[in-house]
């Protein structure tokens, strides 16, 4: 018997229009509430929050101003390119006049829907992204003409298949070893292919001129980001959650406007440094988080607990692809020729990444070095190693990183959680114990 797979077979089971609408609107309403609550909690910790944060509060609403803008620009003929992780070359997307938006999901309720097609062992970021798609929850995912999905971990690899039930998905395969001789050339081929696809979708050629200006736009964003980061190296002039919110909104905001607003925020913060007007007492324990991306809005759970804890902690830096990794590395161009620019963009996305998807016999050295440098620069007192269940790559790197940090006398705590609100009590107990420990160590 001829075995022929029915080509129309989909991952996602049929759902009635009524169910999709009902679940969609209830989860959307819950999400709007979580966004408002998070902002209220941030204001409560930082009584004297600067007025400039209001802009980022507004952009943080998935169902507001930014959604409307993208929708209008799309209707006017612009293409929207969604991407699931930080290997997608933003400079190419901008050069071709398209709108880049990151589409990974931080909705806890959507993860429960993902459970209908995936076992709970699968990382909840993946379950939630698929679940969000099932009920058309994410405006940015819905508005995307295409999704760029880099195959960094097993979850994302299979997520491509699921999302391709709905829209075109472009795969990118980053090499798993950075410093093999063929790695960069393989990666450049991936980049060349994605560039061709972007040009075809948008009908716009990526030229020397438009690529140069998009690189310059992103370099300016990096400059603004680094200005904000430098302010976090001293006594806390901004809470960690506010800085995280600023950084994360860059994933879907108009990047030029974001750069301007971030610079305006920095102007205010620099004034506050002169006035010694701190966001929390200068002796507050300085915490770094690393691990699974903490996606707005529900995954603010742990940052909220850290900064609201008694004793209090303040997040001064992170190693998250949803945070300080987004804009840290600029594209470094020597000569503004097409081939130089193309190479520089390719190298920036591969070589500068500290994603745990990379391996080598010496371990993931770039990530370890990033952590160690930041611990020193930001005078970190302790590290929260945040892993959601099923995030194998981060979970597996922990043992080695703990040993390295132990040897340096830097306390690190492995905080494993899920896309759920039910474990807040447990998380609180553990975070408080960790911060109490940091405080006790400082006392001695």
């Amino acid at each position: 018997m001829a075995s022929e797979i029915e080509t129309g077979t989909k991952y996602i089971p049929e759902m009635s229009k009524k169910e999709i609408e009902e679940l969609g609107s209830s989860i959307k309403a819950a999400s709007i509430k979580v966004i408002q609550e998070n902002i209220e909690r941030m204001k409560k910790t930082w009584h004297n929050r600067p007025k400039e944060m209001e802009y980022f509060d507004e952009i943080s609403n998935f169902f507001g101003r930014r959604e409307k803008e993208i929708r209008e620009q799309k209707e006017a003929g612009k293409k929207v390119i969604g991407y699931s992780c930080m290997f997608a070359p933003i400079e190419f997307i901008l050069a071709a006049g398209a709108i880049p938006v990151r589409v990974g999901s931080g909705w806890y309720d959507a993860a429960k829907l993902g459970d209908r097609i995936m076992p709970v062992e699968v990382c909840p970021v993946i379950r939630s992204t698929a679940g969000a798609k099932m009920i058309n929850l994410s405006p940015y995912l819905e508005l995307s003409d295409v999704i760029i999905n880099p195959l960094t971990c097993d979850g994302r690899t299979k997520l491509s298949e699921i999302l391709s039930d709905f829209k075109p998905v472009w795969y990118m395969t980053p090499p798993r070893v950075k410093d093999d001789p063929q790695s960069l050339s393989l990666w450049k081929e991936e980049m060349q292919e994605i560039r061709g696809k972007i040009e075809e979708l948008t009908g716009t050629k990526i030229t020397k001129n438009n690529l140069r200006s998009s690189i310059e736009v992103m370099q300016k964003a990096t400059k603004a980001f680094r200005r904000l980061q430098d302010l976090r190296k001293g006594p806390p002039v901004i809470t960690g959650r506010d800085a995280m919110l600023v950084n994360q909104t860059s994933l879907w905001d108009d990047i030029e406007r974001w750069t301007q607003k971030t610079n305006e925020l920095c102007d205010e913060l620099e004034k506050r440094v002169e006035q010694k007007n701190w966001a929390c007492p200068p002796d507050t324990s300085r915490v770094m988080v690393t691990g699974t991306p903490m996606l707005w809005p529900d995954s603010w759970k742990v940052p909220n607990l850290i900064e609201e804890s008694n004793p209090q902690g303040v997040l001064v830096v992170d190693e998250l692809c949803s945070g300080d990794r987004i804009l840290y590395d600029p594209v470094g161009v020597d000569e503004w020729t097409m081939s130089d620019m193309f190479d520089a963009v390719s190298e920036r996305y591969l070589m500068a990444s500290t994603c745990p998807c990379f391996t080598s016999e010496h371990g993931n050295e770039d990530r370890v070095n990033w952590l160690l440098n930041r611990i020193k620069e930001y005078k970190v007192d302790g590290v929260i190693y945040y892993v959601v269940r099923g995030c194998i790559l981060y979970a597996m790197e922990y043992a080695r990183i703990k040993r390295i940090l132990d040897r340096m006398g830097i306390p690190v705590y492995y905080l494993d959680t899920e896309y759920t609100r039910e474990d807040v009590g447990q998380m609180k107990t553990r975070i408080e114990a960790f911060l109490e420990m940091l405080e006790a160590r400082i006392d001695i």
Binding site: P411, E432, A433, M437, A440, I444
Partner: protein
């Protein structure tokens, strides 16, 4: 002279310890029940009575435990991990690792010579590493909880069971009963499974010689034997290990009372 008290609001029992200048004056306990605050008040009153003290004599009360927010009279709080570290170093000066196995949760902490917490791990996701597991299994075997330990010591080997989860383990135990495996061997398997979970948690933290075992389960001879075998090390067990959290809290209370006087 400093008189201090520690209240440990555990999931099953509340424990109260009153100390005078680092000496334990008395210990009392009560079931947490539906009204843990009331239960703690009662235990506290009883402790005052036993120590022949009035409420005003106690200079500082520190609360700990999973129900810490429900603690009455608390002047301050401390985490369960911080309390364990203090208690471990108080009972044994050589203590560097303290394992606390309570009703619902097992945890391990590392401390320095002063009893200051320096690292910890928690096994909270799964009840197979905590005391309620023994209770559930005793029910399945139809033996008294107190007899489980001595029963397991009579076994020459352990039956194989899945200890990833209480529910799975219980169904495994039922099938072992159906296969007419001796109760002694099943009991031993239950403690081995628990010890396996607790020891892998301790290995993640890093093993230091001078391991103290506290918490209600430290009184169970079956579990203690299994954990010793798994870790290949002797365990230091204080008198009344269930009160370790309350002792740690009382020590911290004394320290805080002294600081306030200064």
């Amino acid at each position: 002279m400093t008189i201090s008290a520690g209240i440990d609001m555990g999931t099953q029992r509340v424990k109260v310890v009153i100390m005078k200048d680092h000496q334990i004056l008395c210990r009392t306990q009560n079931f947490s029940g539906f009204e843990p605050t009331k239960a703690a008040e009662q235990a506290f009153e009883e402790a005052l009575l036993k120590a022949n003290l009035s409420r005003q004599d106690v200079q500082h009360v520190t609360a700990t435990g999973s129900g810490v927010e429900m603690a009455p009279f608390a002047d301050s709080t401390v985490s369960m991990m911080g309390a364990d570290a203090q208690a471990g170093a108080y009972f044994f000066s050589s203590a560097r690792t303290v394992i606390d196995v309570g009703a619902e949760e097992a945890r391990a902490v590392n401390c320095n010579e002063k009893g200051v917490l320096v690292d910890f791990v928690v096994n909270a996701r799964c009840a197979a590493g905590a005391g309620t597991f023994i209770e559930a299994m005793a029910r399945a075997l139809e033996v008294e909880l107190e007899d489980m330990g001595s029963l397991s010591l009579k076994a020459e080997r352990a039956s194989p069971i899945n200890a990833s989860c209480v529910i799975f383990a219980e169904s495994d135990v039922v099938s072992l009963i159906h296969r007419e495996e001796p109760k002694t061997e099943i009991a031993r398997a239950i403690f081995d499974a628990m010890a396996e979970r607790v020891s892998s948690m301790v290995y993640r933290l890093g093993i230091n010689p001078g391991i103290v075992l506290v918490g209600g389960v430290a009184k169970d001879v079956g579990f203690v034997a299994s954990l010793k075998r798994r870790l290949g090390m002797e365990l230091l067990i204080p008198e009344e290990p269930m009160f370790a959290g309350a002792v740690g809290a009382a020590l911290i209370a004394a320290e805080r009372a002294r600081r306030r006087q200064q």
